[in-house]
């Protein structure tokens, strides 16, 4: 190395900010090498794409619901009356160079954003990475998911096409169904029966300002905390609760992570260019009278849609008041699901009396109860998701919606426990096999001495850690 590390600019900065020590520490920060730690990064990078493409889109979008007559280059809709919002999206899609590409990239990035968050969450759950000291980040992560859902809905709704208008009306009914405050909420925030003239401007302001701001702040905390606490490590040689093993931020991890960033960009660009998404000109502008087609929300709302279909038509009359049927599947159920996600780490901690710090992950088979609960949960959501397309299934199979719904109603109660028990048995068997093939380790201090000669013993030791604590 030359005697002048970092060049003139770095020195200029250092003279003003005293950076050398800090940057050295940052450069040496250790990140574990495992593909599953990249899932959160995929979400992060798709969020960056969302911000970039979204800024571009915002320069063309007009949230007005004033009626205009279309005369753009999409001939099939020439002369059709539509909202200014829909017209602006049409203009963006057909008359702005690369406009359609950017719009489709935005939509695809949104889907990937949410999918990545979900898979990331599943990874955290099935490896028990939410345990102490990472509960705060779990809470932040679940909140991020919630906001991602919300912003996905807002974004989907503001295009002003027939499907989003239909979705908006269902959302209105859901909000209206909330006991006591529902009518107030709908009138204050949506301006009464949707789509009112204030609905789209408000959704637009939520979509481009409020929610992204909250997501950015939460993201900063999420990353800051992971930086402070380091990642977890998968069990393996030299991985203990007191150390972090992996590659350093500079240069190896930075190069890989940046590479991943570009791969995500490439994937989104490819999808945005090749795979059509949300073709609003096919749906046509929103028209309150037009028969709503079998509207489907974006995939991540599929489970709520399914719950709304499966839930029987039961009203709750409380004296002069009414809790309508949509409240239970569309408000109560998601609330319970998120509440369960929020409290899970604390419940586990409470049940296991677990006050330890955990920096080494548990593999799914090492924690049969946890894994089976998680699988049951996902199967539950999956059945609901399938139910969200029961009319499609009915058409495809030639069965009747009513019978399919009956089967699914049964499945939604039966499948999760069955899956849970099955997974429990599989995990327990895998665990038994593993213990059989790895005889119990000698006491710890002996192992530490042996560590220098035989690294496989170390593996046994870390594998045994979880058994002493709690095999939840």
């Amino acid at each position: 190395m030359s005697g002048r590390p970092g060049g003139h600019f770095a020195q200029w900065l250092d003279r003003r900010l005293h950076l050398a020590k800090f940057v050295k520490k940052a450069m040496n920060h250790v990140f574990p090498d495992h593909w599953s730690f990249m899932l959160g990064e995929v979400a992060l990078y798709s969020f960056i794409i969302l911000v970039i493409t979204g800024t571009f889109l915002a320069m063309f979008y007009n949230s007005s619901s004033a009626q205009v007559t279309y005369h753009g280059s999409y001939r099939a809709l020439d002369g059709v009356k539509m909202s200014a919002a829909y017209e602006s999206v049409m203009h963006l899609s057909f008359d702005v160079p690369a406009g359609l590409l950017i719009r489709q990239m935005h939509h695809w990035a949104a889907l990937i954003f949410i999918a990545a968050i979900l898979v990331h969450l599943a990874r955290i759950f099935f490896t028990a990475a939410y345990r102490r000291p990472r509960e705060i980040n779990w809470l932040i992560g679940v909140t991020l998911l919630l906001f991602a859902f919300g912003n996905g809905f807002f974004g989907y709704s503001i295009a002003g096409d027939l499907l989003s208008g239909a979705g908006l009306r269902v959302a209105y009914a859901i909000l209206l169904s909330v006991p006591v405050v529902g009518p107030w909420l709908t009138f204050l925030f949506l301006g009464g029966t949707v789509p009112a003239s204030v609905t789209l401007p408000r959704f637009y302001s939520f979509h481009i300002f409020l929610v992204p701001a909250v997501i950015s702040i939460l993201l900063a905390f999420h990353l800051g905390i992971i930086w402070r606490q380091f990642h977890t490590n998968y069990p393996g040689p030299r991985r203990t609760d007191e150390t972090i093993v992996g590659s350093r931020l500079w240069p190896s991890y930075a190069a890989k992570s940046l590479g991943l960033c570009f791969f995500v960009f490439a994937l989104v660009a490819m999808l945005g260019g090749l795979v059509q998404i949300d073709p609003i000109w096919v749906y046509g502008p929103y028209d309150p009278i037009a028969s709503t087609p079998g509207a489907q929300p974006d995939w991540y709302f599929g489970w709520i849609e399914g719950a709304m279909r499966l839930f029987p038509g039961i009203n709750l009359h409380l004296g002069p008041y009414l809790i309508p049927e949509v409240f239970f599947p569309a408000v109560l159920l998601p609330a319970l699901v998120f509440a369960a996600l929020y409290v899970y780490p604390f419940v586990e901690e409470f049940i296991c009396f677990d006050r330890e710090y955990h920096n080494v992950l548990r593999l799914p088979y090492q924690q049969p109860i946890n894994t089976s609960i998680g699988c049951g949960f996902f199967v539950f959501l999956a059945v609901l998701f399938v139910a969200g397309g029961d009319d499609v299934i009915a058409v495809a199979t030639g069965g009747s919606v009513v019978t399919i719904r009956l089967i699914l109603r049964l499945l939604v109660f039966v499948a999760p426990p069955v899956a849970a028990v099955l997974i429990y048995m599989l995990c327990a068997r895998a665990r038994r096999r593993h213990t059989a093939s790895h005889p119990p380790a000698p006491p710890e201090d002996v192992v530490v001495q042996e560590e220098t000669t035989d690294s496989s013993n170390e593996e046994v030791r870390t594998h045994c850690d979880w058994k002493e604590k709690c095999d939840w």
Partner: protein
């Protein structure tokens, strides 16, 4: 240099860009000179870069070559998960950094390996560049969205591959181990903090005053902020409970024609609105003509359906979609959103699906001209349910 000066002045001239070239053929010559100069510059920079890179590679290989004799004896041990390096990490990691884990991977530090790596990285970067150039070309020549997406993806994919290949081939893959920070602060730190806190506490005189100020102020600010929400909209009003139908209004189709008692055949439907608010979403009503004998309306609605014309709100009571489908053979109205069905003959009671409440019925009568008119408002508030719905 003079060319450059003139180029800079060019934008200040007021003539349109297009004919500037035509008037000054000299400029084309200047452009060519500039392009050639630029090309030469690029070549120079590229040559320098390549020379530097190879020199660096040579230096590294020299370094490793120099080190090999020393490390040769240890090499069998340092392969992969060598415990010795591990302990070395472990011990010296505290005051760490780079120096502590400077174990070179013999497999990765040969010149051939690095040259292969360079080749791959250069290829990937070339693909990235090609993609970028393709994107620009396509953009400036019309901008087909599909091709734009593909070239963009090629460009980004090339970049990503270049980086990953770089880290894989040209960076040593040392595994680093660091101690984690102890999570709770140590007792010394905590006591220190407590002491400090205590001291600063003593600097505050009249603490209770602070509380007296803080609590009401915070409350007031909260009240002000919450009040502002009121500006967002109006309180829920009677429009929740009723649609605009009143007694005597004619039933009008969307194109503004009244519906005559002879207009519909048995088993057909039409969408109607009150005559003074055609197109009103909430008031939209579906009129079905069915065989009078099969109607099973409740007693008090016996005269709501003249000549088998029944009218129901077209807004689904489940979640507010348009109940857009009518099945003639079963006399069911069906909502396409979640497939609730309502029996037209039995006052639109839900027969299957998630809806719990019947579609509100509109009483009808035929006037002297034989046009259908509303006999009053809907039997219940139309649309999805809410707290306080009767």
């Amino acid at each position: 240099m003079t060319e450059n000066g003139e180029q800079n002045n060019a934008p200040q001239e007021s003539e349109p860009v297009a004919d500037r070239n035509e008037r000054n053929p000299k400029r084309i010559g200047q452009l060519i000179v500039l392009v050639v100069l630029g090309w030469e510059l690029c070549k120079l920079v590229a040559r320098r870069a390549v020379a530097k890179a190879f020199a660096g590679g040579a230096a590294v290989s020299g370094e490793t070559a120099a080190e090999y004799p020393e490390t040769a004896a240890e090499r069998p041990k340092t392969a992969a998960d060598c415990p010795e390096t591990a302990t070395e990490h472990f011990g010296s990691a505290e005051n760490t950094g780079r120096a502590a884990d400077r174990n070179l991977d013999p497999q990765r530090d040969t010149t051939t390996h690095q040259q292969w790596g360079m080749l791959l990285v250069v290829c990937a970067s070339a693909i990235a560049l090609a993609g970028g150039v393709g994107f620009l070309l396509i953009y400036w020549t019309g901008g087909n969205n599909l091709l734009l997406g593909v070239t963009l993806a090629v460009s980004f994919g090339g970049l990503g591959s270049a980086l990953v290949l770089y880290s894989h081939w040209l960076m040593s893959r040392k595994e680093a181990t660091e101690p984690r920070e102890e999570m709770p602060s140590g007792t010394v730190e905590r006591e220190d903090f407590a002491e400090n806190f205590q001291e600063s506490e003593e600097d505050i005189h009249r603490r209770s005053l602070l509380k007296w100020i803080a609590v009401p102020t915070a409350g007031m600010i909260a009240a002000m902020v919450v009040s502002l929400f009121r500006s967002l909209g109006r309180p829920p009003d009677p429009s929740l409970f009723s649609a605009v139908w009143t007694r005597g209004q004619r039933l009008m189709t969307l194109d503004g024609r009244p519906v005559n008692v002879n207009a519909l055949e048995l088993g057909s439907t039409t969408i109607v609105f009150p005559e003074d608010s055609i197109g009103d979403e909430k008031a939209q009503t579906v009129v079905v003509r069915v065989n009078e004998q099969f109607l099973q309306l409740p007693k008090e609605r016996a005269n709501w359906a003249p000549m088998g014309y029944v009218a129901y709100s077209r807004v689904c009571t489940h979640a507010g979609c348009d109940v857009g489908l009518f099945e003639k053979t079963t006399n069911l109205l069906m909502c396409p959103c979640h497939q609730s069905t309502f029996d037209v003959l039995k006052a639109a009671q839900p027969t299957s699906g998630p809806a719990a409440r019947p579609l509100p019925q509109l009483p009808l009568y035929a006037d002297a001209d034989g046009n259908l008119r509303a006999g009053g408002g809907f039997s219940e508030p139309p649309g999805p349910g809410f707290w306080g719905m009767p």
